[in-house]
């Protein structure tokens, strides 16, 4: 069992599909993850289950990967850590990132209608597509992901699997944006639709992972000193980026009105 603690979750689920169901029972949704390289021990640790839940989860996984044998329940790092906070509320800098997710989620929720209404013929139709791509490039990537990659992630071990997964999601999102731009230039409606749809799926899952798993875990690790620093550095990025979130809020509001 100790070997499996240091094995990527996708590999474990492929070999023992029952593990996905067990993880689901504890709201650990690794099954649909596009990457799945996080180690089992890190996944269990990062979800901040109670000691009792974590023990029960590890017992069930041990029984699934090594049935019919009795073995001591392996310990993850969490067992020697202090108890999780009594209440869960994001620190102000991470709350800011969660708030930024809200506008991105509103945009990606509109992508199915946006795709249905794609118009590559008229100037107005092309402008709407360019605005949609700009929302992804400027707001979601330059304004939001840059705060994560250039500031927040630097406070943690960037070789940790969970952060590698987040970086890979960002890289994949950027390659989808390139595909959208190329498809628009070539009037390739099919590729444009597919890239937008793939982006929607990627970002929905990415944001869920950050809001529900990564940020609460990061908050549990950050010192007050670091929280204050992050807050000030994010404010500086907002001031210096030259990006006005109201512009993108307006774009999303217009689309919502158009598709209602």
């Amino acid at each position: 069992m100790d070997t499996y603690l240091n094995t990527g979750i996708k590999e474990i689920i492929t070999e023992f599909p029952e593990v996905e169901t067990i993880l689901n029972d504890y709201d650990i949704g690794c099954g649909p993850c596009s990457v799945g390289i996080c180690l089992l021990k890190d996944i269990v640790s990062i979800h901040q289950l109670s000691v009792e839940q974590e023990k029960e989860l590890m017992e069930r996984i041990a029984a699934a990967v090594d049935p019919g044998k009795e073995h001591p329940v392996p310990k993850t790092r969490k067992w020697s850590s202090p108890a999780p906070p009594k209440t869960r509320r994001y620190s102000p800098p991470l709350q800011k990132l969660v708030d930024e997710h809200v506008l991105i989620k509103r945009w990606i929720a509109l992508i199915p209608e946006f795709v249905d209404a794609l118009d590559l013929e008229s100037e107005q139709g092309k402008k709407r597509i360019l605005d949609g791509i700009d929302m992804i490039r400027s707001y979601a990537d330059k304004y939001h992901h840059a705060k994560e990659e250039e500031i927040l992630f630097k406070y943690f071990d960037e070789t940790a699997d969970i952060l590698k997964v987040m970086h890979e999601d960002h890289t994949r999102a950027r390659s989808l944006v390139k595909a959208m731009q190329k498809a628009l230039a070539e009037n390739d409606k099919k590729t444009l639709s597919e890239s937008l749809t793939a982006y929607r799926e990627l970002l929905a899952e990415h944001i869920r992972k950050e809001d529900e798993i990564l940020y609460p875990w990061m908050d549990s690790q950050l010192t007050d000193r670091q929280v204050g620093e992050l807050f000030a550095r994010f404010a500086r990025v907002d001031q210096e980026s030259g990006i006005a979130p109201e512009t993108y809020e307006g774009f999303v509001r217009q689309l919502e009105a158009a598709f209602q």
């Binding site: 009594k86 102000p92 929280v227 807050f231």
Partner: protein, 159 residues
């Protein structure tokens, strides 16, 4: 209906009758983490060097007596001011000093430690008012301590 028992902040209680003299944990002497003087809110200068860019604790007077690990868990690495939101006079001065921490001393964070008794919320309220009056925003955390020394709540308030 529960009979009225008076102000919860002044109600008499006795606890820990069975462990009153028992020392827990290491017998090693606990070192003070206090790194400045003065600490009372009327006496402090909000522009003092130890407040510049600091993580500041604003603590209700009773907290340090109730919270067993106050020095190691909360005071360590922070600058301090203490006040009693129930009994202190002239709290408009406090409001101005907290605002000066935010705007002039550019503190990094403010942590408000209060007791669970209702009147202690006044100290958090004071910090929030100062934050609203300040152009510069700072993360504010608050910690509520029970009369028996347990941390009942610890969370970030909006900046």
């Amino acid at each position: 209906m529960t009979p009225f028992e008076g102000c919860p902040g002044s109600r008499m209680m006795q606890f820990r009758s069975s462990v009153e003299n028992k020392m827990e944990g290491s017998a090693e002497k606990i070192r003070s983490q206090l790194a400045q003087w003065p600490i009372q809110m009327h006496l402090i200068n909000p522009a003092a060097p130890y407040y510049q860019g600091a993580d500041v604790l604003l603590t209700a007077d009773c907290v340090a007596y109730a919270l067993g690990d106050f020095h190691r868990e909360y005071l360590k690495g922070k600058s301090l001011a203490i006040a009693c939101p129930k009994l202190d006079e002239g709290q408009s001065v406090y409001l101005e000093k907290i605002r000066a921490w935010f705007e002039d001393s550019k503190i990094n964070t403010l942590t408000v430690l209060i007791m669970e008794v209702p009147c202690c919320m006044g100290l958090l309220q004071l910090a929030r008012q100062a934050a609203e009056a300040s152009k510069r925003k700072v993360p504010i955390k608050y910690v509520v301590v029970g009369v028996q020394g347990d941390v009942l709540k610890e969370e970030w308030a909006a900046a």
